[in-house]
Symmetry: C2
Subunit: 437 residues, 2 copies
């Protein structure tokens, strides 16, 4: 099939010999990096006592609609099949929530779960954005206090440390939606508490579109928030706070949100990361479901998109139809961190993992080569057995480049004597040993 545009079923980008637009193939060299990164995700989570879980990539569409509303549908890979309306997950949280709810009466809280999963989002393609990505999630369910937030933030920095990113390379900006809500409770929200979630969605854009455009959207009488100019100015003023002291000016005396933030920073101090987590009242996160602390990780130069983000979502279980249970978590994608590791030159040189190559000069020595390869494998070595009529010169050349340690050679002379020749590529030395070891 050509890439012809003549028919609908073979339209643009429909060459079946190419991966669908916005998706990635992982060749061995890509997969080595992915496995290296995922191993860091998993070992960091395990060092914090989190357990891995997983759920199907396909869920009922209604699960996502319950969490994020009808608007989400256009961003999903969704389809009807045999009377069911299904969708590929765009994020892991709804599936995790579903799993928690299903065993809500039977599990001992708090639970600490992590996932490393592929998520799908149908979006117009822009530079650096894909339609699938892998995401590391860590979530704590059943703990209402900010000790959970502190553990999650510490895990994130443990991850950055383990990747070799020096302190200062990443900043996690943090805020409390509770603080913003408190600050507005006497005013805007006293009559219309329902505007808080859409208000957060609008102000989340302030970094991208600026204060003026945000004000405009907040005041738009058709926009769902519809503040007065005075109210909007108050919101913008609150967002400008860059320390707890500044923020406290907008909060009531004895503000619970300020107390919670202070407690959180005390804990972050104990983890040694408080200075890496600047307070920033303009951080609210775009998702409507957050209820408390929210945070976003960026490279210090802010040249890339967000590396990770998360926060507290104490009402999700109820929203989906379960009993209330507090929850907090973060998502950490594989794409932006990969770009940062590239920019910083921190990807290690990951070579193929073959340690030994076994080479027979002719078909008569193949069984002996198998004997050698089998015993090396039983001894725990990673062994490539040369197949067919590979040329020795090429095998040795490739082995040198790939970092292979030893090449085992068996010609008719060796076989007749019951030995195999061993060439040590680092030492450039040759020895012999019996075929049987």
């Amino acid at each position: 099939m050509s890439k012809g545009k003549s028919s609908k079923t073979s339209g643009k980008g429909q060459n079946p010999l190419q991966a669908p637009r916005g998706t990635r193939d992982f060749y061995p060299e890509d997969m080595r990096r992915r496995n290296w990164l995922f191993a860091h995700f998993r070992s960091t989570a395990a060092s914090f006592g989190f357990e891995e879980v997983d759920a199907p990539m396909v869920e009922h569409l209604d699960l996502f609609k319950r969490k994020a509303g009808e608007e989400i549908v256009d961003q999903l890979y969704h389809f009807e099949l045999h009377d069911r309306h299904l969708a590929l997950r765009a994020e892991m949280t709804p599936s995790i929530a579903r799993m928690v709810i299903a065993r809500q009466g039977a599990m001992r809280f708090p639970i600490r779960w992590f996932t490393v999963t592929q998520n799908w989002r149908y979006e117009r393609m822009t530079r650096g954005r894909k339609r699938e990505h892998y995401q590391w999630n860590m979530d704590v369910w059943g703990e209402p206090g900010v000790e959970a937030e502190a553990e999650l933030l510490a895990a994130m920095f443990t991850m950055f440390d383990s990747l070799g990113l020096d302190r200062g390379k990443i900043k996690v900006r943090l805020n409390s939606r509770g603080l913003l809500e408190e600050s507005l409770r006497e005013g805007v929200l006293s009559d219309r508490p329902e505007v808080f979630a859409p208000l957060c969605v609008v102000i989340d854009k302030i970094d991208k579109i600026g204060a003026e455009a945000v004000t405009e959207q907040l005041c738009d009488p058709e926009g769902g928030v519809a503040l007065t100019a005075l109210e909007a100015a108050r919101v913008i003023e609150i967002l400008s706070a860059r320390s707890l002291d500044e923020a406290a000016k907008f909060a009531a005396v004895g503000s619970p949100a300020i107390a919670e933030l202070s407690q959180l920073y005390t804990l972050l101090e104990a983890y040694g990361i408080a200075d890496q987590v600047p307070f920033d009242a303009s951080v609210v996160r775009g998702l409507a479901y957050y209820t408390g602390i929210v945070f976003e990780a960026f490279d210090a130069g802010a040249t890339l998109r967000a590396i990770a983000g998360g926060g507290r979502y104490d009402r999700l279980a109820e929203t989906l139809g379960g009993k209330p249970v507090p929850a907090v978590g973060f998502g950490f994608g594989d794409v932006v961190i990969g770009e940062l590791l590239e920019d910083e030159g921190l990807w290690p040189d990951l070579k193929p993992e073959v340690q030994d190559i076994v080479y027979a000069f002719g078909p008569e020595q193949k069984p002996a080569a198998i004997t050698v390869a089998s015993r090396l494998r039983r001894a725990g070595r990673r062994v490539e057995l040369c197949l067919g009529k590979s040329k020795l010169k090429r095998v040795l050349g490739d082995a040198g480049k790939a970092g292979t340690e030893r090449v085992y050679l068996i010609g008719e002379d060796e076989r007749a004597r019951g030995v195999v020749k061993i060439r040590d590529l680092a030492k450039k030395a040759e020895t012999e040993e019996p075929i049987e070891g």
Copy 2:
């Protein structure tokens, strides 16, 4: 939402708080088993010098149609989205083939790739069948000789060994489609070579439906194969062979297929697995694309479905639109092997991996508890930090059951003295050490 059948969008099985029918959630205890099994897949493949690759779970529908024909569509999770017709993969081979073809000119053959991926198949549900499963694939591309088959079969037995399945528990029945083709070339296939693939699809059912029903289908004038009664009887006779000697009677003198099978068994002898791989002329595999050696692994009692299966598919690259390149591989699912491990009592007792628990008696000791947890984590320990107001009795009870090694306790007395109490759960002994280590 109830499970009500009142409207189409909330029809049966559509409760969004349940995973879609035929799919699995992996809670921590399930995930520990899955990770344990996958680690065996990966380490076995690595010990044979295979490299891991991956491709998107979503492909253009046409990729699957090119390999398997229009009939496959009903078995796929497929959907049109924004003018593209996409499908979730039902198997990994087409994606791997696509990746090989994309770099056909640039790669050094033979290549040895493995994958561990989730595949989706829409089927009517029957007992023990799911709509998703994970599959371990190992494939060799670019090697025409049976040395590749021998390596793959050896890898499969290395896997069985590593899982603790004694020799004799698994039989891999093996045949050569080439042999069957040769045996029929002078007769049935001389006029109509195109019936070979559909013929194989019919005779693949012989174990399930018996020789009589197969004969009936082979002779059905509407059935696409339409043999004479004599031809069908000949086919059934050929299928009865259970040794190379018997099979050789149906083959021409100097048969290349018999020579190839003999060579393969010589190699399997060298691997020490020839007696585990009985020749069985009735094994042809249901998929039309196989061209040479085919094989299927079953538990020796044949109480379960096939554990793994594979074979040679030298024409797939061409079928999909690439240049010819020989290939052979197998797929090995996670479900049937899991049932066998269960039946044999071979699943290990996999406990949560937390080694240390750190417990503060009150909020004043939380920062000290963080200091202790952080240094243990830096030392490579897997540490659960107790959050909130967990009850010590409950923490200790859970720790005992979960196999935790040590519990670190910090009350006001300890904090004031700058120490932490360490309870060793195995030794039932208590010691102290400085908070800072």
